[in-house]
Symmetry: C2
Subunit: 591 residues, 2 copies
């Protein structure tokens, strides 16, 4: 059975040594000293390890079942949810006005990393509730907020996100679900939604569906979409639950993974719904939810890579097979542990250097989100640019890393018993939902790159340049970190220049390289993160930190990333600059 | 439900336009004219499409069940096996002396590509039988051959390969299974084997296990391993079946995929066994089986990528979502098909160019196997060098391609209903069994590269160089094919030189780059294959071939591979030349 060790020291390192959150002027950050974040993360880690992890395999094996419209979640999920609720974890970042604790997003991200590592399927129930909470809070009327948010903050009621229909995924303009005004200010919602995570289950008193639908007579396409709250049970004015609404789960999907989460076909039959925000402006409201959700999905890529890596390390330390080619390391045993073999070590270093770089990236993103919420437009713009990279790059790579971890088990990795396969199967969904990664790449290159006249990408390059310049005289940092970062950043600039020159003539010349650019960007960000971590580790060692091995490990891991992963930027640039012709040259009928 | 179109024209193109098998002097090749291979492949394709494909999802959903020692295969498997047997497909390449048809291996490989594409799990039953047949034929006494082979050629009896034990995978020296001489020339085999594919099932009258075990008193480690035939039912001298032998399936494994194949824990309890070859020389005999098996596993990587690609093409042509950014392609419909989008096209081109390059690689390898069997030592040496590349590169990339194919379905790819997930889950095993891909890389760099004083790798470089030189004046071929091939081959030479210079001082400097080198090598081979295919397509067009679109598609697909996939060689070289330090620098306890 898989184990999980909360990465407390690593989280502390990123939060305090690298991001120095305790010194930030962002609203709410003054509370985030080492003792405080340490205490919170320690408790959150225990929940992950002791409550959520033991249910991960249970969720995978049992899955959810639908009987007479009732969805039963796996054994133990309900009890675990009670523990999460009682501990106040669901409202950590929520507005105190609605019963939340008002903690910065960055702290919630660190907490969530551990929870999502230990049990991705479980974490979707509170996670989606939080997303729905955000959209309602940002766009709904005070009346709706007062009615729904407090119970969602506590997760007594959970939330969902209803976008997809059978014929309509990314292209929401094709939507058919209808919302007819009922005459009393409410709407009657009718239609079918698919792939609705946590759409129906037995762990909450009520489920608050956020549903996109079209009000008849509105504009065609995405401009005619509105957002509605559709509760499973109607809520009386005194807050008690009323009649069952006209919404029901028609079917559960059989999936490759995340079996512990109920993925529902939801049928709406004149269900009572309440408009959130303005008519026909539903998409904008939904995007509020989706942007934070995309960071959360990027976190899933990191989380599954992290726990898969931890278990692969353990396995390769214990499993005795073959001898170190340079001389036996375990001469009294029948063989050496797998970890002595160079190709095993190469795989572990790929995983470790990704996981730790990704952790820094996602926590940095969270600080930008906090700053953006506090009206820092530059932070908001930069985060908006990087959101598709967090989502797309971290989930593509996160999945690859779970595959690499599984590979180290040999045949034992293919057997469900060891749990390595579940990490792979669960991680796979993160590349798909909340906008498949191809859509993230399209969003990045087709929209975000040029937004604000390109000022966000320029701001990113400036951050890289400034860091390199500030550390110009640091010889120790130069060859291992700064030089590779500079080279990678140059590749990225060349790619951006290529797009700028070619896209006006032929948009396909840029879009053909969109996935490559997303990966190029991701590598440069991780390169920057590692350079910053390298610097922080050097500084700690220079300041006489007691845990020398910890910081030296950071330096060695970072140097690995810079030397062996970052050079991928050149390949991505080479692919990008071949342009549209190789990709689009073959007529569609010749495939 | 997935569909499958046998790639008859592509197989014909590789066999005849590229490899020109009908002009080869290899024994048995004189029969292989276009009409003959076309007729065989047409029939084989029908079996794949009409018999095997419909059972692929059935096998995945039902799996195998064990009750009272009896394994039941999925509904329809037995009937399909009867069709395969009655059609004579199981003995296509087998020796006529034992009832086979004596066809060259290359033809069997082409047949198998289609069968393994349509149903990987099913194809393992005859596939493993063929492997066991090969080992017995090469190493057993005439008496054993006469007794067992004819029924194995027809697959009335199937075969297995029993190597792995719970504590002993790659490192066979740790083996504990024992073979005690019974005094009558036979042995009593006792021990437990795990991960035994087709170890027990209900589709054959008898199962012939090939089992590795140690005869007490023999040398330690792999030098004390012997190979035995252990039939499920003893065979009387008149060929009829006798008593049940002391071997039984103790458990079926729960796996990530290939559910249609029974993966057994096999318990041997003083089972009667017959020595194959000499005492303590079992490993050599088993390797006979494993080398051909490794080509067969490489074929599985290609096969799953091929069918996954075909279905992704179909899905992206039918699914309407979004609009072509350069203008609507389906203006009368609600949206354009997915295939208009550049990143979708990029993914399809990645897949298509890999699948077709891999097909050429594997059929070329099969011609080398045929030549080697006919005592061409150079061909045998070159194939021996490339076998880990066929296995490791084609299964790593084949798996990646199934993931890419699945991605194009969006959420629908994660749902088991579409079948995209099964291709991923089934393809995953090919990276693991028959020597995990890290072991293939170790075999390549640690052993094969330097074997014969490096003459096989020099022979490979010569083939590349000669091809480039022969086509020196061909301007059409030069920029699209020859120049990129030359650059990639130079990267590979630089990597080989690096290993030769560094390995004597520090073997880890080479082994740290072993997986990278395996991929580098694979890309150069596929580059060579595409250059040869490009040349063949040009020649066909110049000769006035009627199917212009087919050959132009080959050229466009090849140019894509050369421009966008082949440049990976530079990245692999960059990783390789960082040497041992980044990989091995971190002490094992610091992970």
């Amino acid at each position: 059975m898989p184990t999980y060790t909360p990465p407390l020291k690593d989280l502390d390192f990123v939060l305090h040594d690298v991001l120095q959150v305790h010194e930030s002027t962002t609203a709410g950050y003054s509370d985030l000293d080492r003792d405080f974040t340490g205490a919170i993360l320690d408790e959150a880690g225990k929940i992950a390890r002791d409550v959520l992890l033991p249910l991960n395999a249970v969720g995978d094996t049992e899955g959810c079942t639908l009987e007479n419209g009732v969805v039963r979640t796996p054994t133990g999920f309900k009890e675990a949810f009670d523990i999460i609720r009682e501990g106040g974890w669901t409202g950590l970042g929520a507005d105190p006005e609605y019963g939340g604790q008002g903690m910065p997003y960055v702290l919630g991200m660190a907490v969530n990393e551990m929870h999502v590592s230990a049990n991705l399927s479980f974490n979707m129930y509170p996670g989606l509730t939080n997303g729905a909470y955000e959209a309602i809070r940002a766009h709904a009327s005070d009346e709706l907020k007062t009615k729904f948010l407090p119970k969602m903050v506590t997760c007594e009621w959970t939330g969902t996100m209803n976008l997809t229909e059978p014929h309509c995924g990314t292209d929401l303009g094709l939507m058919r679900s209808k919302a007819e005004p009922a005459g009393d200010g409410s709407y009657k919602i009718t239609g079918q939604k698919i792939f609705i995570s946590a759409g129906e289950h037995d762990m909450a008193d009520n489920i608050i569906h956020l549903v996109l639908a079209k009000i008849p007579g509105g504009p065609d396409g995405v401009k005619g979409i509105s957002l509605f709250i559709v509760p499973k049970f109607l809520v009386n004015d005194d807050g008690t639950l009323g009649a069952r609404n006209g919404v029901a789960c028609g079917m559960l999907e059989e999936k490759m993974g995340i079996h512990g989460n109920s993925t529902c076909v939801m049928n709406f039959d004149e269900a009572e719904g309440y408009l959130v925000g303005e008519e026909h402006k539903g998409l904008r409201a939904m995007f509020t939810m989706m942007n934070a959700a995309r960071l959360g999905v990027g976190l899933q890529g990191l989380g599954q890579a992290s726990i898969a890596y931890q278990n692969a390390v353990e396995y390769t330390r214990e499993r005795l097979q073959g001898r170190d080619v340079t001389g036996a390391q375990n001469p009294d045993g029948p063989a050496d542990p797998l970890i002595v073999h160079p190709d095993v070590r190469r795989s572990l270093m790929d995983q470790k250097s990704f996981v730790e770089g990704a952790r820094a990236f996602i926590l940095w993103s969270a600080t930008l989100l906090d700053a953006g919420e506090a009206d820092d437009a530059d932070a908001e713009g930069l985060l908006s640019l990087m959101t598709p990279v967090v989502k797309g790059f971290l989930t593509d790579k996160g999945f690859d890393m779970t595959v690499q971890a599984q590979q180290l088990y040999g045949g034992h990795g293919y057997i469900e018993e060891t749990g390595a396969s579940q990490f792979v199967r669960d991680a796979r969904i993160a590349m798909i939902y909340e906008g498949a990664n191809g859509i993230q790449a399209l969003d990045l290159v087709g929209r975000k790159l040029a937004s604000g006249g390109g000022k966000h990408i320029m701001a990113f390059f400036d951050i890289v340049k400034t860091f390199i310049k500030e550390n110009d005289g640091d010889e120790a940092l130069k060859s291992g970190f700064l030089d590779p970062l500079k080279a990678a950043s140059k590749d990225m600039q060349a790619a951006a220049m290529y797009f700028m020159a070619e896209a006006p003539k032929n948009p396909n010349a840029a879009l053909a390289g969109s996935s490559d650019f997303m990966h190029l960007f991701g590598h440069v960000v991780l390169g920057l993160m590692w350079a910053r971590m390298g610097k922080a580790a050097q500084d700690a060692l220079a300041a006489g930190a007691s845990d020398v091995a910890f910081y030296e490990t950071k330096l060695a891991t970072g140097r690995y990333y810079m030397a062996r992963s970052l050079p991928e930027t050149a390949l991505r640039l080479a692919r990008i600059t071949t342009g549209a012709e190789p990709v689009m040259g073959l007529p569609a009928e010749n495939f």
